[in-house]
């Protein structure tokens, strides 16, 4: 056995809630199929986390969970979150207590969200043109930090503050990642912010991008206010190559980007710690969609494309490309409705063809 053929990857799998388990099941089958003859073995540990676990045990993400997850090389996550308005989940905040906690604790400072309009994908735009860009969303600071609070809560005199925290350290590392990515792509980088209004947060983003840009004279850099960026995403999405932006603007832009490229059933993402200090986490952009859970209605493509991102991150570029190609072929030839499993099976068939 060669060195390469003995590589073992420890993968934490978090199927989660709602459609999470269904789409992750297909993603895992694709993963198993594509690495079958690669000499790489994936050792999987399943973690029961999410609204379901909370309702059973009252736990969202314990220190033991976190330690156990940290001992893995990467994470595959389906989706977490219970039925909206479920009174038993009122104080749970699965989003902050689980999903964001993982992103923050594992220092996933790059939230990587590619958007591509695949031939055959049903998009809402009459004349989309070519769409192929990547949003590099900051993942560990900005308005997501949870800093804030309220006084006189629940009274007519309440004041509730929410503070966006932006550090040169945090902005610079994600901006550097975005420039490096732009170098490997079409060498265009767009900073999206709202510098004319959010002058404090905006200034640090602008300064850091200007500084790092000097080291990349071959990358064409421009800037858009977030409101204008949403316009271009529907009127002229082909203008984008790499977008770098903060946690909240990135959240908004990537849902919109998912919609214009055929729905968030196709949108994959990686929560990446480029330093490798912690395992990176790959997940579809979509949520747990409890309304259609367990009905085999969910499209597993976003989860499967997240596997491609995972493979790429692990240095398994050839395998990533195979998954990517199989998905593109499948999208190009879709007809009628299929179950979650049927879509998974169709993609695996292309993979093995």
């Amino acid at each position: 056995m060669s060195e390469a053929s003995s590589r073992v990857v420890k993968l934490a799998v978090i199927p989660g809630d709602g459609i999470g388990p269904e789409v992750v099941a297909e993603a895992e089958k694709v993963l198993d199929a594509v690495v079958a003859d690669s000499g790489v073995t994936f050792e999987k540990t399943r973690f029961s986390l999410g609204a379901g676990r909370f309702l059973e045990t009252g736990d969202t993400l314990t220190d033991e969970d976190l330690d156990a997850i940290r001992a893995h090389d990467a994470i595959l996550l389906g989706a977490v979150g219970g039925q909206p308005g479920d009174p038993r989940l009122k104080d749970a905040n699965i989003e902050r207590g689980l999903l964001l906690k993982l992103r923050f604790e594992l220092d996933h400072y790059v939230n990587l969200r590619p958007s591509k309009l695949y031939p055959g994908a049903p998009g809402p735009l009459a004349d989309p043109g070519e769409i192929d860009f990547v949003v590099v969303r900051e993942g560990t600071e900005g308005p997501y930090v949870g800093n804030g609070g309220a006084i006189r809560k629940g009274t007519p005199h309440e004041v509730a503050n929410e503070t966006s925290v932006n550090t040169a350290f945090g902005v610079e590392r994600v901006v550097r990642y975005a420039f490096a990515l732009a170098e490997k792509r079409r060498k265009r980088l767009t900073l999206v912010h709202k510098t004319n209004v959010l002058v404090h947060a905006g200034a640090i983003w602008k300064r850091v991008v200007d500084e790092v840009a000097r080291e990349h004279p071959d990358v064409a850099v421009d800037y858009l206010h977030v409101d204008a960026a949403t316009i271009f995403l529907v009127t002229h999405p082909s203008r984008f190559d790499v977008i770098v932006t903060d946690n909240l603007f990135g959240d908004i832009l990537t849902d919109l980007a998912g919609a214009v490229t055929g729905g968030i059933g196709l949108a994959a993402s990686g929560n990446i710690n480029p330093d490798g200090a912690f395992p990176s986490m790959f997940e579809p952009v979509h949520g747990s969609a409890p309304d259609i859970a367990g009905q085999q209605k969910a499209d597993p493509t976003a989860a499967i494309l997240s596997v491609a991102l995972l493979l790429d991150h692990l240095g398994l570029g050839a395998q990533a490309a195979r998954v990517q190609r199989a998905v593109e072929e499948d999208i190009a030839s879709r007809e009628g409705t299929r179950t979650t499993e049927q879509t998974g099976a169709a993609i695996i068939a292309r993979l093995q063809a």
Copy 2:
């Protein structure tokens, strides 16, 4: 002469920069035409404000300007803002120092932004359906307050904070306005926020909407996270009637809404102080577009529709409806390219037909 026929409205006109003067010129002609036989006289004062004025005098908005403007019944504004990147404007921040200062000082707590897809308007969506909703954007607090700052500015250890301030007083008054508007429309109200992440700011919005909703049992209320709202705006915009949201989310959603309804060349807005303590201000959503300024390329329709909102605000509903109808007829029959003046003239011709 009857009482009504002797009414005088004092109107402050701020043509501003770039295409502002061109579009305001047409808007004024429409205003003059529609009130010609109404018995209402508009006494106009022109204010030279914007990047141009700043470059000439170094002033953005003086206390004297503000006092003079306050003495009016309403304001018509074109657009303000100079050439992006003009080094002489580096420290001006026309947006904060002029536009936002007017909104804040004149307590424009309702930023009213109707979105309608007019028959004949060129939208980017393949299958838009009917689009007819109004965004009620809070105008005086949230992330727009400018609270924040930076330490170790310009160094690798900089920390820049930006604080969103939300008060029960501020949220309640705009939410009440939105519910009253929904009562007069299709009785659907959607709160847009990001309550699962911005827990402090989100909680006060959620609480206030829940409370005011109890007084409006006939209004159907729902909630969307801002990211999901952008998806629906391109995939299912007909689901919206009244959207109520904070200053920043409202900024983002209304540019996107403008794009899906045929471009921000058609999007009008009112910055309203419903209490009447200060003059309300009507302006197109678009900016000053210095790249096409002075070329008669700008579409004055958004400025003209802003006149309709102004007339409505002044209780001149019949006149507002006439402007609205003339614009709709014009949009339905547009062909080829026209100059700014030609579009204005075409709308006036319809008005007088």
